[in-house]
């Protein structure tokens, strides 16, 4: 830090002299006009429909699953359709509810532990995460980074499946921020990795997953 | 009712017949016109080219030319009008006599179509013009002053007039004052884009109610040997028998 001091001091001096007339006061409050009222949620069913619709607009695939049996059926279909042979999943109580590990073993899908090497996870077919929150307005899932759910789990595999409990739905991004703002790292995921950099042609799965699934699980 | 004519330097030197028609229309509806001869130029060409001090000096002189007069000051231009209305008060420090004068005069200036529709509440001048007509939206008139409806209202009352949509009507025509001589190639490209849209509209006439835009588009149509004619709204109303 001592090497940078002259630069730091000079920049602060320049900023303060540029703002001469404004008296320095500890964290002056923002004026009311700098605030914007957050969105209000509608009825839960409507919010769920909205979430699914928005994810589909972003080229994601969606589903509602109720109960273990429905989940098992849907999951089997996903594994078959996407040709999944390897999967990595975080550690979450929701998986136990649906017996996910057993399902995977039954489908002969190799389970990689979350602390596998990045190279192994990069070659993995399916990453499964549970959303800490979901924002129906934009089809967004909040994924907080923890040891059990490192962020590249949702980034490196070819297919990404997000499970969303209905309680996770929030009205507005403000609330998602209130939840996660003190984390060291979190991501808002809204749809598939995409680009239109070549002649404005939409291409999915640039660097991130090529296929993105969101299931509302009750 | 009495009004003062704000003829604009472009208007006086390059569109004097249009100004005559403006007088004709106003007098026909019972408005007495006066012409403060010393107005010359409001100063915008100087100010907008970066010569703000010169622009201020011209402004003081312009205000003096109108100072002994009363009534609305009517202009056939949104650009010059906006300069007096918005810029003059900003040119002088608040509390000074010049600022007060600027605020007073800013309250008096009015664009022609605005004056007819909003002040005189006149929308039908008895004009008739049975042709297909498109309407260009000059940047300072529409985006700057928010004068959009007044032209439409006046055109809608013209008998037989078929108003056709103009694609990208609010896109700048490429005049931009000094821009047209600073970057002539780009100015031409923008003008040509506007002319292409005018041609595509199938209009026989295009209304261009801004002196700068008018000489730009009219010149462009001439260069293309186009059959389309560009007219100021004032000229169209006059042609249709309103003056």
């Amino acid at each position: 830090m001592s090497k940078e001091n002259p630069a730091r001091e000079e920049i602060f001096a320049r900023v303060r002299s540029a703002l001469k007339p404004v008296p320095a006061s500890p964290l002056s409050p923002l004026p009311p006009s700098a605030r914007f009222a957050p969105r209000r949620a509608e009825a839960l069913e409507k919010e769920i429909e909205r979430m699914l619709r928005e994810v589909e607009r972003l080229s994601g695939l969606t589903r509602k699953v109720r109960g273990r049996e429905e989940f098992a059926g849907a999951f089997g279909k996903l594994v078959k359709d996407e040709g999944v042979r390897t999967a990595v999943l975080s550690d979450h109580p929701l998986y136990r509810e649906y017996g996910l590990k057993d399902l995977l073993q039954g489908l002969e899908v190799e389970i990689l532990p979350p602390d596998s090497s990045r190279k192994r996870i990069a070659g993995c077919d399916l990453g499964i995460t549970v959303a800490d929150a979901a924002l129906p307005e934009t089809g967004t899932s909040l994924l907080r980074t923890t040891q059990g759910q490192p962020d590249f789990m949702s980034l490196l595999p070819r297919v990404h499946l997000v499970l969303v409990p209905p309680e996770a739905l929030l009205a507005d991004i403000h609330q998602a921020f209130s939840l996660a703002k003190d984390d060291r790292h979190f991501v808002l995921v809204s749809g598939c990795s995409r680009t239109a950099d070549i002649e404005k042609v939409l291409t999915l799965g640039v660097h991130g997953p090529k296929s993105f699934h969101v299931w509302i699980c009750s | 009712m009495k009004v003062q004519l704000f003829v604009t330097c472009l208007g006086e030197n390059l569109l004097p017949h249009m100004l005559q028609k403006m007088v004709g229309i106003l007098e026909r509806i019972g408005v007495t016109c006066e012409f403060p001869e010393n107005q010359t130029c409001c100063g915008q060409p100087f100010f907008n080219s970066g010569f703000q001090k010169k622009g201020r000096e011209m402004a003081l002189r312009w205000m003096k030319a109108f100072s002994g007069t009363e009534g609305h000051i009517v202009a056939p231009s949104g650009s010059c009008l906006m300069f007096v209305k918005h810029r003059y008060p900003l040119m002088f420090p608040e509390g000074t006599a010049e600022h007060q004068e600027a605020v007073r005069i800013a309250g008096r200036v009015c664009e022609f179509s605005q004056f007819l529709v909003k002040v005189l509440k006149v929308t039908d001048l008895g004009a008739s013009f049975p042709h297909r007509v498109a309407c260009h939206s000059p940047c300072h008139l529409t985006r700057g002053l928010g004068v959009r409806d007044e032209q439409r209202i006046l055109l809608n009352a013209v008998r037989g007039l078929d108003l056709v949509p103009l694609n990208e009507e609010e896109t700048c025509c490429g005049f931009g004052g000094i821009f047209s001589v600073a970057y002539p190639e780009v100015s031409m490209a923008m003008m040509e884009a506007k002319l292409r849209n005018i041609a595509a509209s199938t209009a026989e006439y295009v209304v261009v109610s801004e002196p700068g835009c008018l000489i730009n588009i009219r010149g462009g149509l001439q260069k293309m040997n186009s059959n389309v004619q560009a007219l100021h709204l004032i000229e169209l109303l006059a042609m249709g028998g309103a003056a």
Partner: protein
């Protein structure tokens, strides 16, 4: 920037634009604007205006209290295990990054698209030390491979066709491919994945910095932002000091404005929020805060709003000038309307003053800017700096222009001379007339007639007025 002060000749640049560039620019802009209009309508026009106002006011609040927020940011980043560096200029910033690289024996770097790193020419500095740099945004990867400059701030390769890109990949990457965007993207994906997994250092810019918690926000669609900032052992972020937001509520407002303004999506695929160091992430996080002329812009109360820019590109999408000349014509990192106010302030009016005249002042940019930057006002302010000079710079206008302005004022400021000039004009130009038109005007109006004929001055309004007043008694005249 890096001390180069070669004059940007906008007019010359506009005369060399390939038609393909213009066509691509317009296609891209039209698409983005149409989608933006849809999402703004969905949001509600009135609500959108309130959101813009909130965006403006919070950005200006942050800028007018910049020292407080910079201090808070530094405190929070440091408390979270990150290291904060201060760079007064481009050389200093590059030196800081090179020091970090050398301390870690860095041989290859993966990079997220960042305008500020182009501003300081960071790649050049790294490559000069033998460090390989991979741009990882598809568009940036392509222009890097082609050795070109990006032509738009959010769609860097929009001026290139898929055929050109296929040729480029065949030549530089030695691969077989069709000119198909999906195939081309797949090639880039495979190649860059290897680089992500093996890189020694990841470099990014930053869309925003949240002072409240010391958080860096990256807004991307492709996923490379996450790759570069999660996989390599060291992450260096270079961010302009003006990118600061006071708190998380402000971040919410900004994210509602940004994606909609860029391209009409409601949100981008990935928004990454990084605070210091974390378990399982890079071992070291370095934040380099860059001045490079921003504090000088801050001094000017009228032009200060330039710094509110969130780099969405909406102003250039709607600018008719930009749409006819493309991004390269602006001769610097930032094109379009924002470029025409930012570049002259960063490089000085001697070098870039011409850009302040690259506008018809139509106002479309100010109207679309999500944070309500009064771009046309700032253009006028900078034109004054060019012609008259001000507190920050002396005039850079050629003596001939100043003399012409003086002469013109002398004539137009005197009613007698003004009228005389009018009469002389009518007389002297008469021989050039063809009917109502003059096809070649004398200088400087010869530039007008390059593009279209000039209306031959005819008729004398004052004469007409005085005659009818005398004859009919109609109308009066005021003399002062």
């Amino acid at each position: 920037m890096t001390g180069k002060t070669a004059r940007i000749d906008f007019r010359a640049n506009t005369r060399n634009v390939p038609p393909a560039m213009v066509a691509a620019t317009q296609k891209s802009a039209r698409t983005a604007l149409a989608k933006r209009a849809d999402v703004v309508r969905e949001f509600g026009e009135e609500q959108w205006q309130l959101l813009r106002k909130a965006g403006h006011d919070l950005r200006m609040h942050a800028l007018t209290h910049l020292d407080e927020y910079l201090a808070l940011l530094e405190e929070k980043v440091t408390a979270a295990g990150g290291q904060v560096h201060w760079a007064r200029n481009a050389e200093e910033a590059n030196r800081i990054v090179l020091d970090i690289a050398s301390r870690h024996g860095v041989r290859n770097v993966v990079k997220v698209k960042s305008m500020v790193t182009e501003e300081i020419e960071l790649n050049h500095a790294l490559e000069g030390r033998g460090i390989r740099v991979y741009e990882t945004d598809l568009g940036e990867f392509i222009v890097q491979l082609a050795g070109q400059r990006p032509s738009h701030i959010t769609a860097p390769a929009l001026h290139m066709t898929k055929e050109e890109i296929a040729d480029l990949f065949r030549e530089k990457l030695k691969v077989k491919t069709e000119p198909d965007p999906r195939q081309l993207t797949e090639i880039a994906r495979k190649l860059l994945r290897e680089e992500f997994l093996g890189a020694d250092m990841g470099i990014s810019g930053g869309n925003f910095l949240v002072a409240e918690t010391g958080t860096l926000i990256l807004v991307t669609n492709e996923g490379n932002g996450r790759m570069c900032t999660s996989l390599p052992p060291v992450h260096v972020a270079i961010v302009g000091i003006e990118k600061i937001l006071p708190d998380w509520d402000s971040a919410a407002v900004m994210l509602k404005l940004l994606a909609r303004s860029v391209s009409g999506s409601k949100i981008t695929a990935y928004n990454t929020f990084i605070t210091g160091v974390r378990e399982g992430g890079p071992r070291e996080f370095h934040l380099v805060l860059l001045d490079n002329g921003r504090t000088r812009i801050l001094r000017d109360e009228t032009a200060r709003e330039t710094l509110a820019c969130i780099r969405c590109g909406a102003c250039m999408n709607i600018c008719p000038v930009y749409n006819h000349v493309g991004g390269h014509a602006y001769g610097a990192v930032y094109p379009g309307p924002i470029g025409s106010i930012l570049t002259p302030q960063l490089l000085g009016t001697q070098a870039a003053g011409g850009l302040t005249f690259a506008s018809t002042l139509c106002g479309a940019c100010s109207e679309i800017c999500p944070v309500m930057i009064p771009i046309t006002e700032i253009l006028l302010h900078l034109r004054r700096r060019c012609m008259e000079g001000d507190e920050l710079e002396s005039s850079s206008a050629p003596a001939g222009i100043r003399a012409a302005a003086r002469a013109l004022q002398y004539v137009m400021g005197s009613p007698a001379l003004y009228r005389l000039a009018g009469r002389l004009g009518r007389t002297l130009l008469a021989p050039l007339r063809h009917g109502d038109w003059i096809h070649r005007m004398p200088a400087p109006l010869d530039r007008w007639t390059l593009s279209r004929p000039f209306p031959a001055p005819q008729g004398d309004f004052l004469g007409w007025w005085r005659t009818r007043t005398k004859n009919t008694g109609h109308g009066g005249t005021s003399h002062e």
